[in-house]
Symmetry: D2
Subunit: 346 residues, 4 copies
């Protein structure tokens, strides 16, 4: 039984971490950090936790926390983890950062896209990008895991096998992604009010969304070269779920079976990645509440392009679930421990 602390426990990703860790047989949560609700009972913030969690919210004191737990999750806005982390903390605990602070290897790219100064660039090289299906072995040995972004997790896993095998020209890659609203966080903003989101749909962050360089970097490793993509996120009136629809030009004439074999090569032993049957399009509802990624594809002979599709629950595989998966790797637990949740439908 290990002990865990959460900084940022009252955001949606933090709340989901609590839900998942309560269901994990080897972890005990010792610290519910939330600067906004210090000394308030956690269940008063999330009444679904009534009679399940009796602790109070604590401050964001990572130094104090490091003495009490084995792993710290930071589910906070970018900048916070980098500003708090230090060698003493890392000597005592593992850190799984759900923010973007350690995802990009090039600090200039980080500072350009996020418009803030990086406070701990000395740890960027060491941090491991925690997309478990791709970096499993490095994660196991890490001190800092950079938990991937929600859109990026979905986008990368949807395209990875074809990029890696050179079946698509990565410079033609266009990813059109759609997300439920929990990805926008729990801040009190007019744009996220029910009446503004419900019965509505929009693109946002067009050509400027921060997950773009993260996707480019990771798929760049797979391709063995750098390239630029178009990534466009959209807001959709639902709580949970990301659907990525990706378009790319094929580099050669391939059949359905050949492409399927490539997906299977990478994913057939992956518990959390499900390559659907032919012509079945992923639906976000089929993965809701679970850590699954459902992917599939369709070849369009007319345009010589392939359309790749992927669906995740943004709060699970796109945030808290993947963080738990990373924790399982770090501590030698079964990789799907606490994550065998069956998707909820309807």
């Amino acid at each position: 039984m290990i002990k865990a602390g959460i900084i940022g426990a009252t955001g949606y990703a933090g709340g989901e971490l609590v839900r998942l860790l309560l269901n994990h047989k080897d972890v005990e949560i010792k610290w519910y950090g939330s600067r906004s609700y210090i000394d308030k009972k956690y269940y008063e913030v999330y009444q679904n936790m009534f009679q399940l969690v009796d602790d109070k919210c604590m401050d964001d004191n990572m130094d104090a926390l490091a003495d009490q737990v084995d792993v710290i999750f930071t589910a906070t806005p970018q900048g916070l983890c980098a500003s708090l982390i230090n060698e003493e903390i890392l000597s005592k605990v593992k850190v799984i950062d759900l923010s973007a602070d350690f995802r990009l290897k090039d600090v200039k790219v980080y500072e350009e896209w996020y418009k803030i100064e990086h406070k701990a660039p000395q740890y960027i090289d060491e941090a491991v990008y925690g997309l478990c299906e791709i970096n499993r072995e490095q994660v196991k040995k890490a001190r800092i895991v950079a938990n991937p972004g929600c859109y990026t997790t979905c986008s990368i896993l949807t395209c990875y096998p074809l990029v890696k095998e050179g079946l698509i020209d990565p410079s033609t890659l266009i990813i059109d992604a759609k997300s439920g609203t929990s990805g926008a966080g729990r801040g009190a903003k007019i744009d996220n009010l029910f009446c503004e989101v419900n019965e509505n749909m929009k693109a946002y962050g067009v050509a400027t969304h921060r997950h773009t360089p993260e996707i480019e970097e990771q798929l760049g490793y797979a391709a063995g070269k750098q390239f630029c993509i178009n990534f466009t996120p959209h807001l959709v009136p639902m709580n949970r779920g990301i659907l990525a629809t990706a378009y790319a030009t094929l580099t050669k004439d391939v059949s359905y079976e050949e492409v399927k074999a490539v997906y299977d090569k990478y994913y057939k032993d992956e518990y959390f990645v499900r390559v659907l049957d032919k012509d079945v399009c992923p639906q976000t509802k089929w993965v809701e509440g679970s850590n699954f990624v459902d992917v599939n594809f369709k070849i369009d002979k007319r345009t010589n392009r392939i359309i790749m599709m992927g669906a995740i629950d943004n709060l699970v595989k796109g945030a808290a679930g993947q963080a738990v998966q990373n924790m399982n790797l770090l501590f030698g637990f079964e990789e799907n421990e606490g994550l065998k949740l069956v998707p909820m439908f309807p």
Copy 2:
């Protein structure tokens, strides 16, 4: 490890049973009955089950099924269970009927409200009404458990302590209930299309809904006398959740603390019933995906009435979850085994 068979596995309640039983350490599902999808892979009907269930759908053959399993769940329209059940089946397996066939003790009331002839009235007396918190001991010894209705579970548990203790005049009881749309089932009806339900709200079955006599009968036992109530269900644009708001005249002058003590008397040791803190109104989202019932109340001195409120997930505590809870009682498992799911928020 016991074996279970489900008749009606492809309705929403059936699908929820599958979700819950897959998460139960002592049960294996051996039979996915679905007359509409015979020989089709179960996951092709519910793609959330892809790579989790590989079985095919089977016919509704209860006799054949009784030889293969320890417990049969019938999640079918009223009339079917009564038409299939017989002594030989009951000699081999326990039956948990999620339909209304064995909920009402008076066959005339059944036939009047449901407009069909009862095909197995000889088992009505024997069947146990499976509202576990109230009939726990009888359930343990039953052969047939009549799993309560969704509205009734929520309504009864919301009012039960005050009726039982005589704090309210039951003849003044008015229950205004609101339900998500999964309660309407998976039938292809225009009324249940997305565009008809979304951004819409209505009452239905006013003064004629079939859960009315079920509530009256059960609360009548608590009151020690018969009485009539008003029960009005409403359809609300959400998938899951029932909220019951109940109004009744108080029989004496009571304080918040006195009423709270009465609720605690009945529920403080009940894992699944959560009496919320003062002035916190139940919200359906706080129980979503779980077997919890959240209840609370407010005294209105001006009118000498009390307003009682309860919230459940209609597919869990209102159907499949309670069925699993009944199964746990029948087979001597921990009552909350497979049901310790943390509510999902948001």
Copy 3:
């Protein structure tokens, strides 16, 4: 052609007023008051108005405004209209107040339920409660019209004929109302975020909601005596729409036809009140975007109660539409001018 000014033009009710007045052949909007957005283009706040409104938002200066227009609408929080109004303003313009400041005739009741001091009690007597179907003649001569609350409009019109005719015992009246979320306003509050409201339902303000005394006062006039009711509002995941379900004990044995005749007596010539056919329950979607009130009822012989149901669009008949209807009466326009909008379905 008259000129209108709106104070509070950027709230949801204010925005709806703009939508309706742009569609009104005899009115020109001259002033878009919004303290939060002074000097910002109105269409930048509500992009649906792009190329339809080119004006900028102005301050809440009612004195300056009174010189420029014929009618002022105040769609502001309670307290503001009372604090700004004065004799000079009233000598120049008509005021239609969408807030609660002049709805209650007893200033003590106002101060008790709203917890603020009334700044202009001298105008309370003079102000006319603008429920047009009931107070049409008084409205025509008013200087100040108190535009009724959303819940109250729906609740009163649903029950009025039966209270007026003495067919129900008003002291048994229980109103269970459900509202879409636009009624909660456009303030940036966590409780009204999409993810908190969507797939969720709750009661709120139980036994304490401020529309209670307003309903009691108006129905009290109809009954010819004072009484207390229970009124419970609920929040439902939709943008627009209020559904009221009201319960009361009948004072005598009546048939469907007799009750229908009573409704028809009061409403058969009312353009905006539609008494639906027998057994058709009102649905909020059937009035969406329009000024209609759909009502119906069901007699329950078993309990000797009647269930009355009413549906409105809370932003139209519950706010801006009724305000325009009042304006039409004040200025001698056709009562439904600008309000002949066909409800939008789906």
Copy 4:
């Protein structure tokens, strides 16, 4: 005052036609055709029309109808209009076909994508593709107007100026479109049930959707050459609204101002097309209930692509509204008569 008949009046597009025509000062509806509801009152099918429409539903008899009206709208599945139309009908009335029967000029393309035989190919050449902003003059003289598809209207108007001016390479065009569920029609299908659509999202018809050749044909005329595109529709949990996000490679280095000037060249005098301010992304809610098309774009220098975005209400500009706009052109009414509806928000 002209007389109109609607065949297919009880589908969602038909219902929307009724809503719009009731609001049109120069048209009277004489025939509510609906094979499924013959002899039923129209308002019993759409209760929003209670007390607004008193007519009964009639059969789909186009010959009889032609004697009674000036214009016939066919809002029916593909194949029906082509099977009913004949010279005698066309000698008496104008026909506006909301189905796909006369949209594609190449009958082979029609039969290949729609998998049915065309029953009136002799009228294909004569029929005018009723995208008013592009084919205004031809529409005025037509006997048969092929009312464009919903996705196609949105897609074409979003991209048209840049294709026409050669600013983008049309063979690189990828259109990712998202639609509310009313586009799927009012048929009773499990896939369109509330619980299947709500909190869910999916692509469908990938690489095979029938609006693809329609977009290709029309944009092909603009480009002066044929080409293939990728078009992917998605289903989103909302009633109304289509959002198209289109990607294409720029043919030369252009500034924001240059592209804006191109959009303005084509649309600045178009009442229904609104080119939004810089960096404002279209939202479907801003056009809801109206005939507007909101468009905008963003240049991505990194990839040398442009992202074009457009939003419509699929039932208005994507179906019934555009049909009324075509009718206005055919009969010499003001083009926006009956269509000056202000979008409804929220």
